[in-house]
């Protein structure tokens, strides 16, 4: 396995503010690596460290085995980057932006660029200040992939795109990967990540809480069971069962997240005469929320 991106004890602080701390992960060549976390968790800070836009406080990051600060020019030649908050020059057209990047990258062949413009219906003729967020985002996507980079780093790439364009973008990512490109996909959109990523890291409050393949995470993810009862039921009946977390309860309807065997839950439920039961397969949404709940609970316990 060729490692394209690696982080070792990578940390960044901003004065007294935490950025990210002790990050350890690798991204292999040709994979889509999902980097998940809520707003403010440290995703964009990590990306700025990988792209050399920001300096680490401690630890190391490597891209293609190179240092993002020292070897920035070589790395940038091989990387495409879409920032989370894309800022374009308001008075310049998309064409000016694209021409600028193409010249600096010394791009001779613009066939793929023209294909992308047509495929995403990118408006390159108007000043970017007159474009919608989605149309500006399309220009950002062009700038990130038009030179067929070996590694694409995408921060919230589908922000502002309509569902059709989101699908088109997913197809593009898969095509890029099939041609050997590695994708580092940062997002808080769990659905998007679990659809395309092969491996996922979840970051919370600047710390990685888990890194694994999507399949392995899915196996560990809790299933969701929803019971309906003819009368109000105390959720404590279920809360005491090992591996069960009461996700929601409105008296007659109780939703549980379950890790482990289902039999103890069914035994308790049977005594309560349920009207209906719906079980959903595990998905990353629930796992993601579980990690947050677990950490919050641990912090709560620690505080006590």
């Amino acid at each position: 396995m060729t490692v394209v991106v690696s982080a070792e004890k990578l940390s960044k602080t901003f004065g007294s503010h935490r950025g990210v701390e002790g990050l350890e992960f690798t991204v292999a060549e040709g994979e889509i690596f999902g980097f998940l976390g809520p707003n403010g968790s440290g995703k964009s800070t990590t990306i700025r460290l990988l792209t050399g836009l920001s300096h680490p406080t401690s630890g190391t990051a490597k891209v293609f085995g190179l240092d993002p600060i020292v070897d920035a020019v070589e790395i940038h030649r091989r990387v495409g980057y879409l920032p989370g908050e894309l800022a374009l020059h308001p008075r310049l057209t998309g064409q000016r932006h694209v021409d600028f990047a193409a010249k600096v990258r010394d791009m001779q062949d613009r066939t793929f660029l023209r294909e992308l413009v047509e495929r995403f219906q990118v408006d390159l003729e108007r000043p970017t200040r007159t474009l919608s967020k989605g149309n500006r985002q399309k220009i950002g996507i062009l700038l990130a992939v038009m030179h067929r980079p070996e590694l694409v780093i995408l921060d919230e790439p589908t922000s502002g795109l309509d569902p059709l364009m989101q699908d088109e973008f997913e197809r593009l990512m898969r095509e890029l990967v099939s041609s050997g490109t590695t994708v580092f996909l940062s997002s808080h959109e769990l659905d998007e990540v679990q659809r395309v990523a092969t491996r996922v890291a979840i970051i919370k409050d600047g710390h990685l809480v888990v890194t694994d393949t999507v399949e392995a995470l899915r196996r560990r993810a809790p299933r969701t069971i929803e019971f309906s009862f003819p009368r109000t039921v105390d959720p404590k009946h279920f809360a005491s069962i090992q591996g069960v977390h009461v996700v929601a309860s409105n008296g007659k309807r109780i939703t549980l997240a379950l890790r482990g065997a289902v039999a103890p839950v069914l035994r308790v439920a049977a005594d309560l005469d349920p009207l209906d039961v719906v079980a959903r397969p595990a998905d990353l949404d629930e796992l993601f929320l579980t990690y947050y709940r677990d950490q919050s609970a641990e912090e709560h316990d620690d505080a006590r």
Binding site: T51, E74, E85
Partner: protein, 262 residues
């Protein structure tokens, strides 16, 4: 070296730059055309007689009716430096710190171009802007030779170079402060304060004895405040102005290399 970053920046500022150039050209033409009406008004020299501090504050010392005195007092010691500084300090504060604050700097910073090259290209764009204004003004002043304004052309060329370098130096100061702090406001504030102090020291040095030794620390003195139109721009002045610019460029490159970008 490629100039793509400089070209983009100049394109972004072309309207403002054109407006400043047109305004300065019109003003300079009015000044030179008016000279024949004022060259015989000896009472005008009373304003600066006996070392008037108020006149000195406005950049007027010596005879106002001589060609060099008229041009210095109306263009080269005050108005033209002010306009050039507005352009260069404004650009200097915005081209690194300002663009980083609004997020557009990453469009260039993520491309395969070193941070040193980014700074040098921005220094190039800064120099083009300062030279453009200085040369346009020089062209208008040359027209003044048809209106009784006589002076050696080489001295005018030297003075134009001096005022352009003055603008470049303070613009570079703004780039350097912006590269170190990442703050457009700080870059503007620090540079404006330095420029104002430098102007005051150079203007008041001829009339206030205790300020005189400090004039050597003023870039205004080396560029426009030492009768450069009458005596020519000295090599020492060029050396000081270029040295300060080089030092500021090195500081800006070092600062930008350490700066965390958005």
């Amino acid at each position: 070296m490629r100039a793509d970053v400089a070209v983009i920046d100049l394109r972004l500022r072309r309207r403002a730059l054109l407006s400043y150039v047109v305004g300065m050209v019109l003003y300079a033409l009015v000044i030179v055309v008016l000279y024949p009406q004022f060259k015989g008004v000896t009472s005008l020299d009373q304003l600066t007689k006996n070392g008037s501090t108020v006149a000195a504050l406005f950049g007027a010392t010596g005879s106002l009716t001589s060609p060099s005195g008229w041009l210095d007092a109306n263009i080269y010691e005050n108005f033209l430096p002010l306009i050039i500084l507005l352009i260069t300090v404004g650009y200097g504060a915005s081209c690194i710190a300002g663009q980083d604050e609004d997020g557009t700097l990453s469009l260039a910073a993520i491309l395969p171009i070193s941070r040193r090259a980014v700074v040098l290209q921005k220094v190039g764009a800064l120099t083009v802007q300062a030279l453009l204004l200085a040369i346009a003004t020089m062209g208008c002043v040359l027209v003044g030779r048809q209106f009784d304004l006589s002076f050696p052309i080489t001295h005018l060329a030297g003075l134009s170079l001096g005022v352009a370098l003055l603008g470049v130096d303070f613009g570079l100061c703004a780039i350097a402060v912006g590269s170190i702090t990442g703050s457009r406001g700080t870059a503007l504030g620090v540079t404006a304060a330095l420029a104002a102090t430098s102007y005051l020291v150079s203007s008041l040095a001829p009339v206030i004895e205790w300020i005189r030794p400090a004039r050597y620390a003023s870039l205004f003195y080396w560029s426009v405040g030492n009768q450069q139109l009458a005596d020519g721009l000295s090599l020492a002045s060029v050396g000081v102005l270029i040295s300060v610019g080089a030092l500021s460029t090195l500081t800006a490159v070092a600062g930008f290399r350490r700066l965390d970008l958005h």
